[in-house]
Symmetry: C2
Subunit: 343 residues, 2 copies
């Protein structure tokens, strides 16, 4: 579908598109409604009025400032939906509703906004969440960077599920659904920071389809966490610190694709710190691991799922790596900024 506001009318976003008047109204009705249409969004109200939610409610927010906004494997619209959906999944919740707020830079091509809105709409439809309310602001050229998006999600926590970083226990094992570092390398590639084509695509995807089945089969999961900014290492450090346990990782079990490995070596990066957008860490009692793995492996986004670590009572609050050469070292939380604006 072509951009509903043709180039002959408005080729670029103007400050007035964020002014709350006629142009804002046109943007909402012609562009946003066309890309995101559902009956709750179109009430023309200051907010959405939603049917009652059952049980506990999960709420999560994320702003997306990824640069560039289009990259191999996805775009900022995919990230904005999948990222927030995955955070709801990590709370053990059925993703239900999203809000969508844009901060646009004056001069943004209308066509680019349309591509992003369409990708938000398509991704939301695939996952089964509804974009029910939104906001658009425009800042002067040079005071923003093309498109920033905030998505905030609400979901219904599954009955009987209790997932929290503090529930990580000695005797648990750590699973992951596939290779690490793909998103970060795809972004660096798109920025031409890698001087050869790695062929790596972002792993951005919704984890809800797979995890809804896993949670049904294995409701006793203790922790779920998507290792985005800061990568696997930072996510596990947060969990070790919140639960007061030690986490031991097996380096040889952590899947890293050829392309990510090659690019990381050239750039001097550690894949354990590179961002992911379609990975999930599942921490659960060892005896339930096989059941979870068999469900995960039956999904395309989980076919490489495996056990990559265990939870211990040694080195409390720390993450330790057993390396391929048989030594071991402490893996800390990321300190500096490896890759700014990765999501």
């Amino acid at each position: 579908m072509d951009c509903p506001i043709p180039i002959s009318e408005y080729e670029h976003i103007l400050l007035a598109h964020g002014g709350g008047g006629r142009l804002t109204d046109q943007l909402i009705r012609r562009l946003f409604y066309a890309g995101l249409s559902n009956e709750l969004l179109e009430s023309g109200h200051d907010g959405a009025v939603l049917p009652p939610l059952s049980g506990k409610v999960a709420m999560t927010t994320d702003s997306f400032v990824v640069d560039p906004i289009f990259f191999p494997g996805g775009d900022i619209g995919h990230l904005a939906v999948n990222g927030t959906v995955n955070d709801l999944v990590c709370c053990g919740a059925v993703p239900r509703y999203l809000s969508l707020a844009f901060i646009l830079e004056e001069g943004l091509p209308m066509e680019e906004l349309w591509r992003v809105v369409r990708s938000v709409g398509e991704t939301a439809e695939r996952v089964g969440v509804k974009v029910v309310t939104g906001d658009t602001k425009v800042v002067e050229k040079g005071k923003g960077d093309r498109i920033f998006i905030n998505t905030t999600g609400i979901g219904e926590v599954l009955p009987g599920i209790e997932i929290a970083p503090a529930r990580c226990r000695e005797g648990d094992v750590v699973l992951i659904n596939g290779s690490v570092g793909d998103h970060g390398i795809a972004i660096m590639n798109a920025r031409k920071q890698v001087l050869f084509d790695t062929g790596v695509k972002s792993d951005t995807c919704s984890l809800w389809g797979m995890m809804s089945r896993v949670l049904e089969e294995v409701p006793g999961i203790h922790v779920l966490r998507d290792p985005t900014r800061g990568g696997l290492a930072s996510a596990l450090n947060e969990i070790a610190s919140a639960s007061g346990t030690g986490i031991t990782l097996y380096e040889k079990e952590i899947p890293v694709s050829q392309g990510v490995r090659g690019a990381s070596e050239v750039l001097g990066l550690d894949p354990l710190y590179i961002a992911n957008e379609g990975k999930i860490l599942v921490i659960l009692p060892a005896e339930e691991a096989e059941r979870a793995l068999s469900v995960m492996q039956s999904f395309p986004e989980g076919k490489e799922s495996r056990i990559i670590g265990r939870v211990t009572s040694e080195n409390r609050g720390l993450v330790q790596l057993e390396t391929v050469i048989g030594t071991s070292r402490i893996v800390k939380m990321i300190t500096g900024e490896q890759l700014p604006r990765i999501c």
Copy 2:
């Protein structure tokens, strides 16, 4: 309370404060928790898990890009809380929870972030909403502008209340709780676009205290709307259009302060199009107006409340102004951008 991260440690925001690692963690624990503390926020989870909500749920989102971030009468932190709370109020909902997402520009003084976080915390506490989840991104210097904030709110729609723009009916009257244009002129003043001191302060405030009492006394209200960007004229145009009614305004009844009137004349602006951040339009059957007004007038933010118009079956979809000199004219939705980045 002094900034919990002293100048001797980090005087400015670095890219790494948004990297998801140690500095992000420090910012969250030392600065955000200190300014916003509540038990739901501090779970260290990817999102908040909230107790069940009763009845229908309202959800609303707003990004704030106001320039400057500090201005007479408030700052971006006040706006972010009050603006989202007021949108929930306009859905007839009890404001309950907020998410809070920052997009910071590299180099922002830490002290300024702290002032804003504290003002978010204090405003939220005054209103009785909880900030339960958040996010922080940092963009390179020159790719943002100090601080952008997104707040998304959820609330519980009051039982028996049904408020929507489409419910506006012939025979209704239009009330407002005070003078228009103060916020916009205060911002222009702060930007030194007005070359004399108008003494005008932003009207930013939460409308929940007053409106909770009004909704209790007069549950039959048809429409609530806060006339922010685009001002009174744009808000009423949206309502006229959504409901297919005509709205007639009495110019002599619309309160405009001396300072706003003076500045508007100098700048060639029409106060009907200037943004407000503490005003609400109440549209309800004429016979209920007196009861609503007497409650509104008993609150400081409503002491100037009055009837400023009526809903008719003439000029459907349009807003008409009966001027002080006895003529009448159609008042359209704002077309260009009068005041960019007013909220």
